[in-house]
Symmetry: C2
Subunit: 461 residues, 2 copies
């Protein structure tokens, strides 16, 4: 059902997009709009815009379209009259779930539960997933501190006015360059770009250095190991320091690959050691797979590449999983109702679609396909950076979750715009990187489509 190639009619944004963007400016801030889309006509790996341009999409709505546009299996879910009720009656899932919800969780999310994490809490987006994961860690930590889950009278009265001990002085340790969302709890652990954080009050929580590795990783094993050791040491120091400050670290949160922050990788050994340090100091370990989860690295979860028996206490997800939520270890379960709660707690119609996405991933063996496609993509990027060493560097990736750096931000931004005018949608991340976030149905011939356009642009630069 996919198109076979890009087809460009105007520059992007074209006149119709420009007109609509102008109209949108009357209603809300329109300065981030790239162009307007014709989603009805979009298919598979190709996004069609309102000016009739058809582009190969290697960015997929910020990594959130799992199996391409208008996948027939998903259209079938919507057109099935038995499902209509799920789309029009959004329940308060925490109190009045639909009959099928246990089955949908069992056939859906639980089939991809990370090792050791038997429980899953559905949520609606990446931000509420992380916010509630943080809350679960705070609650777990305080119960440990108190030695009981029964709060004191002082806890109960002080929390109502935002004061200790009920609202405790606890922190979440995050990493420089991290992105975990933009609501105020998440935002206190986000350190990607100033514009994400500027002017918003925050918490004085510890921020550890994320390893700044050299690529390809296997050619810089020793230096990278040193850099990772440095970061681990500093992380442990911060945990101790914050405990002495009277604001203990209840949880450590990290992305398996820092995505918004510039596609920063670290070794399996780093993550496994970090998890051990967290456990040693009584901190929960939260792996944020909002952008990495769902198969783009060639495994369903990026942390599976660590080969760890006991990778995490909490794994949060959203984007490609269409719903949000987090998996968690039994002992992170709250004992009382209404602690991890909000009105909707997700949206069952998204679980319906997700179950179908998981079926397609299995039936079409998409994780193996992603691994194959990813090899072609990374191989192509290596070749290009060898050919244009002044322009490109640091090609890196796992599966199709790849990136490459460009010499200057202005050149990077220009290349992205030029690629778009030539029918390929790319995204930037960090200061200098182009990130590749195709759907799981991106094949080797799509890689070549992209490489042809991109190498022409580089040659002309």
């Amino acid at each position: 059902y996919d198109y076979d190639r890009p087809l460009m009619k105007t520059q992007v944004p074209g006149p119709r997009s420009k007109e609509l963007t102008k109209q949108m400016g009357q209603i809300q801030n329109n300065t981030a709009i790239n162009f307007f889309c014709n989603y009805e006509e979009s298919r598979g790996n190709f996004l069609v815009d309102v000016d009739g341009n058809r582009m190969l999409d290697v960015y997929t709505q910020i990594a959130s379209i799992p199996i391409g546009y208008n996948h027939p299996a998903l259209l079938k879910v919507v057109s099935d009259p038995n499902n209509a009720s799920a789309f029009v009656n959004r329940p308060a899932l925490g109190i009045l779930p639909p009959e099928s919800f246990v089955d949908k969780l069992t056939e859906g999310l639980l089939t991809v539960a990370p090792k050791g994490l038997n429980r899953v809490q559905n949520m609606a987006c990446g931000s509420c997933s992380n916010e509630n994961a943080y809350k679960a860690m705070f609650i777990w930590y305080r119960n440990k501190e108190r030695g009981t889950s029964i709060p004191s009278d002082a806890d109960l009265s002080s929390c109502m006015i935002n004061q200790t001990p009920g609202c405790p002085e606890l922190s979440i340790l995050s990493f420089s360059g991290a992105f975990h969302g933009r609501t105020m709890g998440c935002l206190a652990t986000t350190h990607s770009k100033p514009i994400h954080k500027l002017d918003v009050p925050s918490f004085d929580w510890p921020i550890a250095p994320f390893p700044r590795l050299q690529y390809p990783l296997d050619e810089h094993v020793r230096e990278n190991a040193q850099e990772e050791a440095r970061c681990l040491e500093e992380t442990e120091d911060l945990i101790v320091k914050w405990r002495h400050k009277g604001m203990p670290v209840a949880g450590v949160v990290i992305e398996p690959i820092q995505a918004e922050g510039g596609d920063n990788h670290a070794s399996a050994a780093f993550f496994i050691s970090l998890r051990k340090i967290a456990s040693k100091h009584g901190c929960a370990f939260h792996v944020d797979e909002v952008q990495t989860g769902g198969g783009a690295t060639g495994r369903f979860w990026a942390h599976e590449h660590w080969g760890a028996e006991d990778p995490a206490d909490i794994v949060s997800f959203s984007k490609k999983l269409l719903t949000g939520g987090f998996f968690y270890r039994d002992e992170m379960e709250t004992d009382k109702p209404y602690r991890i709660f909000n009105t909707w707690m997700g949206d069952p119609s998204k679980n319906l679609l997700l179950a179908e996405v998981l079926n397609v991933i299995r039936q079409e063996n998409l994780l193996a396909e992603v691994t194959r496609t990813g090899k072609a993509l990374l191989g192509g990027l290596y070749e290009l950076q060898a050919k244009y060493p002044n322009l490109l560097s640091r090609a890196r990736g796992q599966g199709t979750f790849c990136a490459i750096d460009v010499c200057k931000a202005s050149v990077r931004d220009k290349l992205i715009l030029q690629a778009r005018d030539n029918g390929v949608i790319l995204g930037g991340c960090g200061d200098l990187s182009i990130r590749f976030r195709p759907a799981l149905i991106f094949k080797e011939h799509h890689v070549h489509m992209f490489l042809n356009v991109f190498s022409d642009l580089l040659a002309a630069h």
Copy 2:
């Protein structure tokens, strides 16, 4: 398409609900689950459970079902093949909106824009709506403080590590008993129940007293005015105090009727004076209509009852509006891209459904209907509290957005369970209140159905 009366086959939860609840306990915390629902069979004002019980729903998924279950107009939106693409291709709305989105906003949300608020930002739920409204107020306030929207180098570098001046010491003033959501920014302004806040770190933000009025309001005008004057004075003192503390109040947030906190009302004069105090001190004024908005008070927005020319700087919404978001004054617009931003920024399929909900509200003249139904409901509650003065007190309401207090929490909770076993779903709020949150299609004969069940229970007590 509605049923004509409740039909009970078992106690609630029945055996099937109990079995499913047990299964859910293997997957996630199940302690808040009331029962499992058969949404396919539910219709209009009646919610059907998995044991075949059919109940009159006066709670409607925590006030979030606008025009009843399985409304034919909404089913038609889902079954229309032209809409399928909106349900399967969720865009990153902030960068790649669908062609129809400007029209959907214009025909939908903008037709109900509060006075003076010409702009609207779509979001996904009540929490992200309020979080982003707070961010908009912080950004606006800092731009005023700086005298320019251009941040200093110190702003840019310090914000990346959660420090001032980039992450400023600013606050949002909220009220005792308020509920504005449960993500960490919202939660710092929520003061409804300890279980909502316990063990979660918070901000030291000012909390003003919300007037504790006597009902009926028109019989206690003088005492209530005194109480409101006291609260206004204390609010102004807090604004001054927090400025002196070095943590100025960027915005004041308030619900037109405190909903989770126990259906606490205040007079139009109170809100208008409060808004003036906020303006006088340079604070933005944010009216949170997440629970009150959408017509249940007999006006589309509860704040319309104030009759104010200039009611607010920001009005946030969700629940009955199916999508989330906030309306705002022109000068609250951010000047740069990616400040108010996240991956999805809402969900266009919810805007499709909302446009249809608004059509139904207009075609069926539902606001007038709500006013009529509300009179019958409040009248009935007055009669009951006159008849059972030891059991009931403080009947109050606007439209069908009504509540009544019960002498003791245990009696309140028991009455709610008994009503359910007799085919009427009610909800509690605050310490002692029963709240009424029917859909907009709740008619006078539904009021009588409820009153019959309820007065029998009271008589038997």
